[in-house]
Symmetry: C3
Amino acid sequence: MTVSTLSHAQSNSELEERLAELEQRIVAAEKRAAAAERRAKQAEQEMAEVQANESEPVSQDIESRLAEVERHANGEEGFSFNVYARSGLLIGEDGKSSEGSPYVTPAGAQGGAVGRLGNEPDTYAEAILNYKMRFDNGAKAKYTTMIADSVTTSNDWTAGESNLNVRQVYAEFSDLPSFTGAFEDAKIWAGKRFDRDNFDIHWLDSDFVFLAGTGGGIYDMQLADNWKSNLSVYGRSFTDFPVDSMNPAAEETDSTDNLILTSNNYFGNWQWMVSGMNAADNDERSTSGPLDAADNGVHTMVAYHGEDFFGISEGNSKVAVMHGQGLGAATKTIGGNGNLTEDATATRIGLYGTTYMAPKWRVAPAILAETSEDRYAQGDQYDWATFNVRLANELTENFEMQYEGSYQWMDISPQGYGGNNAVEGDYTKLTIAPTFKPQVGGFWQRPEIRVFASWSDWDEELNDYSASDSFGKPGFTGDDWSFGVQTEVWF
Amino acid sequence: MTVSTLSHAQSNSELEERLAELEQRIVAAEKRAAAAERRAKQAEQEMAEVQANESEPVSQDIESRLAEVERHANGEEGFSFNVYARSGLLIGEDGKSSEGSPYVTPAGAQGGAVGRLGNEPDTYAEAILNYKMRFDNGAKAKYTTMIADSVTTSNDWTAGESNLNVRQVYAEFSDLPSFTGAFEDAKIWAGKRFDRDNFDIHWLDSDFVFLAGTGGGIYDMQLADNWKSNLSVYGRSFTDFPVDSMNPAAEETDSTDNLILTSNNYFGNWQWMVSGMNAADNDERSTSGPLDAADNGVHTMVAYHGEDFFGISEGNSKVAVMHGQGLGAATKTIGGNGNLTEDATATRIGLYGTTYMAPKWRVAPAILAETSEDRYAQGDQYDWATFNVRLANELTENFEMQYEGSYQWMDISPQGYGGNNAVEGDYTKLTIAPTFKPQVGGFWQRPEIRVFASWSDWDEELNDYSASDSFGKPGFTGDDWSFGVQTEVWF
Amino acid sequence: MTVSTLSHAQSNSELEERLAELEQRIVAAEKRAAAAERRAKQAEQEMAEVQANESEPVSQDIESRLAEVERHANGEEGFSFNVYARSGLLIGEDGKSSEGSPYVTPAGAQGGAVGRLGNEPDTYAEAILNYKMRFDNGAKAKYTTMIADSVTTSNDWTAGESNLNVRQVYAEFSDLPSFTGAFEDAKIWAGKRFDRDNFDIHWLDSDFVFLAGTGGGIYDMQLADNWKSNLSVYGRSFTDFPVDSMNPAAEETDSTDNLILTSNNYFGNWQWMVSGMNAADNDERSTSGPLDAADNGVHTMVAYHGEDFFGISEGNSKVAVMHGQGLGAATKTIGGNGNLTEDATATRIGLYGTTYMAPKWRVAPAILAETSEDRYAQGDQYDWATFNVRLANELTENFEMQYEGSYQWMDISPQGYGGNNAVEGDYTKLTIAPTFKPQVGGFWQRPEIRVFASWSDWDEELNDYSASDSFGKPGFTGDDWSFGVQTEVWF
């Protein structure tokens, strides 16, 4: 027992020691726990503050203020600036400025454009100043003004040749809270403008339709599930035209307005546009023949906006047929030509598409063709057709070779109108243009800087159409080379 | 004892086990405490970093950088864009552009405006480009240039009719640290400008005074506790006017400058403006009668800027009396008319006010009237008075009906000046204009898009005043309707 | 043993109690540890979130978004606006607009400018609208258009006198990733522009060379370690000049283009510029004498761009010698003068420097001188030299006194060209201009608002040079005072 007692005593004192040590350790552990709890509590408070700060002033206030200045920087609010511009040299073989323009041929005066690459002699610049407003009630308004100039001189100071003018001044409202139902997404506008829904064949510098003038209208009425519609009235001025006078010795002039009521309708990819117009007293305009000038007209267009390259490959395509009568026989610039006769008719087709033929090869074919009769004189006929193809081979990130081939056939019988002669023939232009871009990647990427060589040729007969047009100029008779450098910019 | 010894042994071994378990648990607890302390320490360090980051770069640096870009977005610093513009159609009963203008009557040439609603045939656009600078020393500078155009054609390309010109080019400095005392809040300016303190009767498109030209001056001198004062010199050009020649067969012209020294003084709501002017050699201008053209003049205006509607209700109101002699007899466009005779006198009163008559009904009456004698010829007299009221009934958030009635009486005896005949009569115009706005809420809310019908009538006698003014046009003889659509924008 | 047993029993129950207490405390400690761990874990998770938020959306996302809007606000990206403008009054002793201009003397037509301070009668304003783009591949593009106007009328509506025109329209690309080696920092451009590297003597309103027109080129090719080079082609138009006709009765005109190939080369502070030019058929221009008009020319300039005031003190200085022959004899406006003969030669020197003479006294001397022979007619000679010094004494933060002395000697023998007479003489102008600035501190600080008094005098003989220039005007014959106020702005 002694042993056991001894061991008891031993074990008891050992237990005592271990217990005392444990008690000390537990006191220390409790102190540490208390300290840790204080630190945790403090950390939690600070964390709460940080989180409060974070979610409130930093995240929310800064976020919304930043979003607003971003809307200003992005042009969604306040002032924004848009541009279309081209400027460069077009020099002929003789080292002088060359005649040129997509509208250079006898068909050009009737809208018969040819390819523009290496064919533009002008500095043309549009500066578009916008201001976008957001109102407390959610409504938005946009004001747009455009100033534009076109000169062919290469000099810097062009006050003598300046054509600077204001082409657009309009306001457009959207998101109007009191517009509901079919009008929920409708936008209304008034002023002077290019119609929002104009679209073009870029390579011919020709719109399918170019509706512009001063008026007002409404866009994007939802008339049915698959039917969106626009309705506008546009005025255009016919100014100081000669009228047939009782007294043939007196030169008399009149002015009038061509008022155009136009409706655009969208059904999926299809567009149907119809326009009627009236210009009071325009029939009193003096004409060369028995036909009166038209004082009214109709115009219509059916168009298909393709989301691929004619169903063949990726890309896009557009096809449209336009027809007009009387004042509507200006198939592109709707209502813009007061010289058309009451019997004038015109039918035009236009189409283009863009796609990649191969990874670095883009192609864009286009066709524009018109037949028109009794346009300015009884029995006259203006028939023309343009075939154009633009090719681009993207060689580096910043460089591509562009090629354009353009062919136009025309058969024009003006019946003496304007002192012009009947001609029939064709025009061909081939252009090669090494082109620099900040970033290649499609036909719509701008700006571009290009140098180019362009060869054009045409039937000699076309030089006889008019003594005052480009083909009537001495020394510009076909088989012509031109060279140049040009920039084209839009944003 | 055995039992107790046994229990001792049992209890000892049990204690031993419990002790061993406790020791293990305390070791584990200590490890957990150590781990927790490490985690707490790390969390505290990270917290400190987060807090440092938070209070420094995020809150302060971001805040000040954001404040600067906000000043740019808000137009307080850097570029900003302001606009006044109107554009639309004004079509008469015959379907053609109608004559029209607030200055359409015979009194119009002397500043006798009538109501503008449904009476504006033009696209008029001002684009104002500003740039505001802040300097390290706290000084601020503003540069302003305005280009403006006015055409009546509805066409988009208006190079042939363009009136695009630069109306303002000036710089203005403020917050100059070395300007102290009475000059502490003073602003100095030079260049070509519209005076800052011009104010208008909007509905008549007429300023009370329109002081503009090229010069320099100082604004907002605090001459006494209740006296703020401006002092400016403005030049205006009288160009190529005919002078009486020794040799009556020779047509001779001269040009001169009308130098206007002008002081504007504000005492509470009262304004007193006084201007003296001198145009060297303008008295050599050839006149039709015995009176010489004036080569100097004085002009003064007393105005009251009311903060309510003539003390009757909430709103605002302005009342002013202007008087001028000699060159000062152009009571609105101070110093702008070089044809005035040395004896010319003119006294004009103008007033308007705006208020809500009922929750959704706004009203703005205005009066402008003048009597003037010996203006361009001895014994001539030009008396006219316009009463105008604009009403608006706010029907939805985005739509209101606007109404305007305008009446002008005039009695003009030109004594043959300008080949014009003496006439006396009155003019009345009534207009109704359904008007769309992004947000209704007062007479100064823009943009607006309005359609309108306007009927005007006048005494037949007024058509005899001049063959070359609007009322002299055949077919514009009174009882005329016009229709149109128009936008008006300012910001 | 009893004691011991008793003590055993006692000690055992005591141990039991202490153990039980310890067990309770360890349970509590474990619970607290578990709770602390949960709190720590939650705190760590929240911390992680905070840090994630902080480094991601707050610091990084906000930072990058803010940096982008700052680039917009600073004009590094998107739209930006630059201006040069001056506007004010220049009134003679007679109280009318005074003749004046740095180019007022007979030498002025050949580029012989005198000091501009108190010598400018016009409102001249340039508005430069830029748009800068950054592409995903790192490339940058800049579009610039400038509209400018110059009128001398003081009126606000200047449609009748307007010279508003578009002086620049160009695009410039940089940072093109596929440009490497010598082209790594190269920039390419095309359009209508002022050459980037033009530099001027500000106080004479004269560039050393002013190269401008329509074309394209490349800047900043690094051809060797110390050799940077530019290469450009510029076209300028010579329009509707008279040509010698077979039939002297018929007035015939022709137009051509002066095509200028120009290279600028920089070696440290030295610049060597060389330009060759050709204008086809310009030699058919009719001239008054036996010499043909030039159809080509060369021009060269050697310039030193000093980083101190001629090695004497801090400041800057520029010295250049220009020489040209044929069409190159327009030593400033390279290629801009089609009337120069095939034998024309001209040599011009220009220099200026700026420094502080004393803490608040700035000085800027300048010299411009040219000798030219066979310029427009055989044996003609145009020699002139201008010495100019501008002084400024900075008196407060916002005010300085400016002084300008200008002296020009000229000896012109036009040999009948332009109907002008040979004259020899000198011109002196002294001007004092108290000047306000938002912040003084150097010759390049703008905007400024100045009032000034200017006295000019010249040899009477100079009035005989031409009846149609300023010195030919009656009443502007020397010993003339003029006064005015003007602002000058650039940014």
